[in-house]
């Protein structure tokens, strides 16, 4: 009698569990693996998490995916180091059972993460990792919606030729990103027949005193100085280049969009003035309705302009949700098939993933612009677009003599 009662009770509990929406509607988990602590660019990671969370909220507010399942984000910190990136991906894939991962920022981390992603069969989205090699390997589970370094170099070489710079110095960190950019610039200087001398110095990313390197560059008398530091090294170079008198007399090009962040002026003050920098988004850009809705909500929520990392992470989670719905499945292999066969709405256009040649494999590239700040504390919205010519709102302004 007691046994029969126990069996009946267990059956009733099991039936109730199966019938409840909570069991039937288990969330679809998406991982966000991004730098959230040093030595990674933790600020970038925080913007990426913001964008991804806003996308998840929006999708869940509209009823979720696959007929009512919520999106659940699982955030992991890769700290900008390959070993933590690999540990994070392993946890996301095997413990949290995520269906895909977004948020990759440092190319050196992605290099390690994407190899493991192939083994674990989890799609990984590169949000701001730009090394050419990452998509050049033609991996099945790596997708990128960010610029690649050869395109970045092509653009700055065109700008160098247009401006007529004759001596270009690059100070780059010893990462896949920094070394890759130097190699690509050397290669393209030859292939594009750039009539300028090139001086390159690579430094250890952990070093904080860059005075000797900057003195050597200053004494070489370049007419353009390219700052290839990411996160803290970018700020250290900018500060110390000003202190040794290299900038602002010599124009400085910062290789990515960090100056668009609110912290830029807090960290650099007057030393950040006259810097030119590369961005992939500008507040005056016309966006898709999806991108525009994000921008409006972001401004309401955070009282500041969105930055590209947030926009891109948002778009990646949104397109993943679209892919899951298109695949009618949350299985990674079905999602990959859907990613390759579907057109998605991004933040500023339609995104498709084709298997092109070289690094253009499962790759979608946003636009690139060169902006310049011309006065201290200038808002990002007011930074002039100085390149490319078809979009420019002003010319490169040289700093007055100090």
């Amino acid at each position: 009698m007691l046994n029969a009662l126990r069996t009946f009770s267990l059956a009733a509990v099991a039936a109730a569990a199966l019938a409840t929406p909570a069991f039937a509607q288990a969330p679809v988990k998406i991982g966000v693996l991004t730098p959230l602590s040093p030595p990674g660019d933790a600020t970038a990671g925080q913007f990426i998490v913001r964008g991804a969370k806003m996308a998840a909220d929006e999708i869940n507010g509209q009823g979720g995916v696959l007929g009512g399942r919520k999106i659940e984000l699982v955030v992991e910190d890769d700290a900008g180091t390959p070993e933590k990136g690999v540990a994070g991906l392993r946890k996301l894939a095997s413990q949290d059972r995520v269906v895909a991962v977004v948020g990759q920022f440092h190319s050196s981390v992605t290099e390690a993460v994407q190899t493991l992603a192939e083994q674990l069969k989890v799609p990984v989205f590169l949000t701001q990792a730009s090394a050419k090699s990452l998509t050049e390997k033609h991996l099945t589970y790596t997708f990128r919606t960010h610029v690649i370094d050869p395109d970045r170099v092509t653009l700055w070489n065109k700008w160098i030729m247009q401006q007529g710079f004759k001596r270009v110095a690059i100070l780059a960190e010893n990462t896949d990103y920094g070394v890759g950019l130097i190699e690509e610039t050397k290669k393209q200087f030859a292939s594009m027949n750039v009539k300028a001398e090139l001086k390159t110095i690579i430094f250890d990313r952990a070093v904080v005193d860059l005075t000797p390197q900057l003195l050597e560059i200053k004494n070489w008398k370049p007419d353009l100085f390219i700052n290839v530091g990411i996160g803290t090294p970018m700020y250290l170079i900018s500060k110390q280049a000003f202190d040794v008198g290299l900038t602002p007399a010599t124009p400085m090009l910062i290789s990515y969009d960090a100056p668009s962040r609110p912290e830029y002026w807090k960290n650099l003050g007057e030393k950040g003035t006259y810097a030119t920098f590369i961005v992939y988004y500008h507040p005056t850009m016309k966006l898709t309705p999806r991108g525009e809705a994000f921008r409006t909500r972001y401004l309401e929520q955070f009282k500041e302009q969105p930055v590209y990392g947030g926009l891109n992470a948002y778009a990646q989670v949104m397109l993943l949700a679209d892919a899951i719905n298109a695949a009618k499945s949350d299985k990674p292999d079905d999602i990959v098939k859907a990613l390759l066969s579907t057109k998605f709405t991004g933040w500023n256009g339609t995104i498709t993933f084709t298997r092109g040649e070289g690094p253009y494999w499962q790759q979608w590239t946003p636009p690139m612009l060169f902006l310049q700040y011309t006065k201290e504390n200038q808002p990002f919205t007011e930074a002039k677009i100085i390149y490319p010519p078809e979009l420019k709102t002003g010319d490169l302004m040289m700093a007055p003599k100090r």
Partner: protein, 296 residues
Amino acid sequence: MDAYLLSQYVLSGLVIGLIYSLMALGITFIYGIMKMINWSMGEFYMVGSYVQYALLATFLGWELWWVALPLSMVSVFLLGVVVQRFLLRPMYVGGIERRDEYATIITIALMVLFRNLAIVVGGPNQFAPRDYARATTLLTLPISGNRMVALVSTVLLLLLFYVLTRKTWLGRAFRGAAQNRVGIQTAGVDVLRLDMLAFGVGVALAAAAGALLAPDFLVYPENGAISTFKGFEIIVIGGLGSLMGSVVGGLLLGLIEALGSVFLSPAYKDLYGFVLLLALLAFRPTGLFGERERTV
């Protein structure tokens, strides 16, 4: 080689070497008294930079950096005293046989703890106090006002430290403890209290370096790593336990890095100090001013 550029490199190396010698002095002073290596020295440097930034950004305003500097040092001194009292003192009063291992484990744990606390309290981002002074020129070297302030302050702190250890009763007690911990107790000195003060003074020197270099090298959870690394390099070059060795070692390290940058490549600046260090270990393992330890 351009003599002008050479002079700039040499000056730049000497300036930063002397500033780093503050870290080395702190490490070697603690070692001299307590016979232990403090592996979390860089984290006290980091805490010093955070306290300096917090004081300037919230209470004092950017102009009063010179008020914030001693306050940062005092705060870290007190933190050091607490750490010594509750975490390191048991090493000397309990029946712990392997003191070196105990100290290593405790200070490495502190390193991890402080770094993570910094992330929890201040977030993972970097901060920068406003410049302490306008950029200037030191002979041929264009130098940031901050580094000039750091240089002058370092010289003053070294002089102050010299006076403390040479001209005061406390200094004599410190030197006595460094020579013989048992002997000094027979003279009625409370060596455990002396340890507490020595640890506090040592980490306060690291905090001074952190606070002085904050505008140039920024404030972030891992900013003490390089200065610790340099500090250890300096004490091996100068000789563990030698105060003079810390200063000369700092200057020599800066000079070698500068000359390597000029004649080889600035890209490998940090490698040259290690070449010097290896050469010294091969030919003079005790360092320039270190002495062989005598055991009875």
